[in-house]
Amino acid sequence: MIRENIFAISRVLLAGSLALGSAPPSLAQENTPPATVPQPAQKEPAAPAVKMLMGYVELADDPRYDEDRAEAEIPVRPLGRPFDATAVGISDAEQIGKVIGVDFAIERKSGQNIEELIAATQAWSEQGVGFILADLPAPQLLELADALIDRDMMIFNVAAPEDALRGESCRENVIHVTPSYTMLADALVQYLAFRNWRKILVLQGPLEGDAQMVAAVERAAQRFGAQIVEVRPFQLTNDPRQREQSNVALVTSDADYDVVFVADTDGEFARYVPYATQLPRPVVGAAGLVPSAWHWSWERHGAPQLNSRFEKAAGRRMAGEDWAAWTAIKAVVQSVLRSKSTDFQPVKDYLLGERLTIDGFKGNPLSVRSWDHQIRQPILLTVGNAVIARAPLEGFLHQTNELDTLGVDEPETACQF
């Protein structure tokens, strides 16, 4: 239980821990690091901090983090484990924590299977841990959510984009930070409509995720006034008998289109589509212009600072899943700060409430959609080393919040908690 007086004390003397003095080095000479000068001791003894532990679960052998895919920098794949972002999240939280007397920390559990992770989260729950980040594929995420349904726990989905998780398979104890397939498709098709590149040839891969992406694009085309010219299957294969589906020029011939949308959640086929199409057309989707939650080259809204902090901490560039993990921690810390409590219910209420404003470094303040617990957010439209546009595009309007033009809106949701 947090004591009221911890928050009533806004005056915390941090002289000892936060101030550094330095002997004046002359910059005209060499750059010697400044010497630290001993600081006066704190004037008042600080009250002991309340610990707020968060959990993080992942699968040890998760094929989504295959190293070869990461090295190839395939845009739709993560660049590394999102847990790497939690170091930045906790470090950002520490400054706030010192002032409000809360010691934020995160514990990682990497399991061989979902049963191990369920056991770990149940043990955390006994300790009073209320907030967990989950980097899990959709089926395992649902198993975890169901196992914890009767506990005071909230799970942050940082890596699973499936629409059903926000729709018919939604769970009240899950908040989705990473965007859904629908949001990504909406962002991309808004851009295509904006540019008047409305005729879309869709190439669909064999995976379940590919089918979901196609469904999302078809819905988006109808919403924003684009036209799916045709959906053609592709296969990643060298078998000459399947060349109609593997040869990019063949699979994109005999049709009239403005762009080629490649629905390829694996990413390896899409990688070789740009400049291989029969007609000279932009490629979008899993290669070419790729919608994403984040990009390392994003220049506005303070993003370079976040990217640089992440790169220093993780030794690599920041991708969408990393951003989602960082944002989840930020959401919890903000809610603790503003609800003035570390107890589960007040923090959860603030998270799901109307006053939550998270700075996700994408411009608009982020908050949680009440109807499906998806965090509403701008989506970046990216090419290899740049962001070409940020959705929602100008001109796409909404009654209450333009961010809700991306994804499933309240009147249409299939989610019923």
Binding site: S10, L13, L18, P25, P365
Partner: protein, 329 residues
């Protein structure tokens, strides 16, 4: 603005220490200086007809600018080159550079101009630089992404925002130690001190508010919310502010809401909104306070407002992503 104590002899001594000849004293030319982040220069406008007098090439990514006490020199923080450029106002040339920590953004002088307090965006720190020696004489850790810096008139207290930690750090200038932290709104950016020294106003960009702090107690006493016509709460992103010399009115730029607001400082009431350009961040008043200049970062121009009628009379195109505007008064 705060009244300036002019110590000509001290300044002359400082300048000769730089190795410069003492420049002619610039008695308020009224020239308007606008820093342009992406074109790495400063646009100098003539206040009579707003013609462009000169483009001053600076180090890369010029942002905040400050005059010294007698307005003979203009200092510009150049974020991509980690340096503060020094411009001779009489000749409109860069005459010196002061090295800083990584990515200096906003800075403020001590009352006697001998020290610069500068926030280093990338390093989570406030650095204290001896201007004459061009040497860093102190560094104080802050929360992530410090930005706004202001020094009280008596030079005893320095305030700096941490954008990520949503707080204002209070620093004792003499001991160079952090003595307090004040939690404000989301993503606090800039400050304004009232001339009577009693209040500190802070713009909270992402919660769309201005927090007003009572300096005696370090408590937030008021929170102002803005809503200009045609915009939603989420679009309101206040950044730069300016206060009249008599402390009666505060002007607040509203960022993506493309307006500035005029606030009665005593009653805290919002008097009116004026539509300016795209992403208004910087604001400055002419010496007679009859003209206001607002920099619009995403329409690459400066809006010129006639204050008595509170109407925009002109928009002057400047460089790319104008950031700060300062007037030689």
């Amino acid at each position: 603005m705060i009244s300036k104590i002019r110590r000509y002899g001290c300044v002359a001594l400082l300048l000769t220490t730089f190795g410069l000849t003492v420049p002619a004293f610039s008695a308020g030319t009224g020239l308007v200086f606008v820093s342009n982040e992406k074109t790495h220069n400063i646009t100098v406008l003539d206040p009579k007809d707003y013609s462009i007098v000169k483009w001053i090439e600076t180090s890369r990514r010029p942002r905040d600018m400050r005059f010294n006490n007698d307005n003979t020199l203009l200092y510009v923080a150049c974020g991509d080159d980690d340096v503060i450029d020094v411009i001779d106002v009489a000749t409109l040339e860069v005459v010196d550079h002061i090295p800083t920590g990584p990515s200096p953004e906003v800075f403020y002088f001590s009352p006697d101009d001998s020290l610069i307090y500068v926030s280093n965006e990338e390093n989570s720190s406030l650095q204290i630089i001896d201007v004459a020696e061009k040497v860093i004489v102190g560094e104080i850790s802050t929360g992530a992404e410090p930005e706004g810096v202001v020094v009280s008139d008596d030079g005893k207290t320095v305030y700096v925002t941490s954008e990520v930690a949503d707080m204002v750090h209070v620093i004792d200038a003499e001991t160079q130690t952090l003595t307090d932290n004040i939690i404000v709104g989301t993503r606090p950016r800039r400050f304004v001190l009232t001339p009577d020294g009693q209040e500190l106003w802070v713009s909270d960009e992402l919660s769309g508010e201005v927090s007003i702090i009572d300096r005696a107690t370090n408590q937030v006493t008021h929170t102002l919310q803005f809503l200009p016509p045609g915009f939603r709460q989420v679009d309101v992103t206040p950044v730069g502010m300016e206060i009249t010399k008599d402390g009666s009115t505060v002007y607040v730029t509203l960022g993506r809401a493309n307006h500035i607001a005029s606030v009665d400082a005593a009653s805290k009431e919002i008097k009116e909104y004026v539509l300016v350009g795209s992403r208004a961040w910087g604001v400055a008043l002419s010496p007679d306070e009859n003209t206001m200049y607002v920099t619009n970062g995403l329409s690459d121009d400066v809006s010129i407002i006639d204050v008595p009628s509170m109407k925009v009379t002109q928009s002057i195109p400047v460089g790319r992503v104008p950031h700060t505007v300062r007037i030689d008064d």
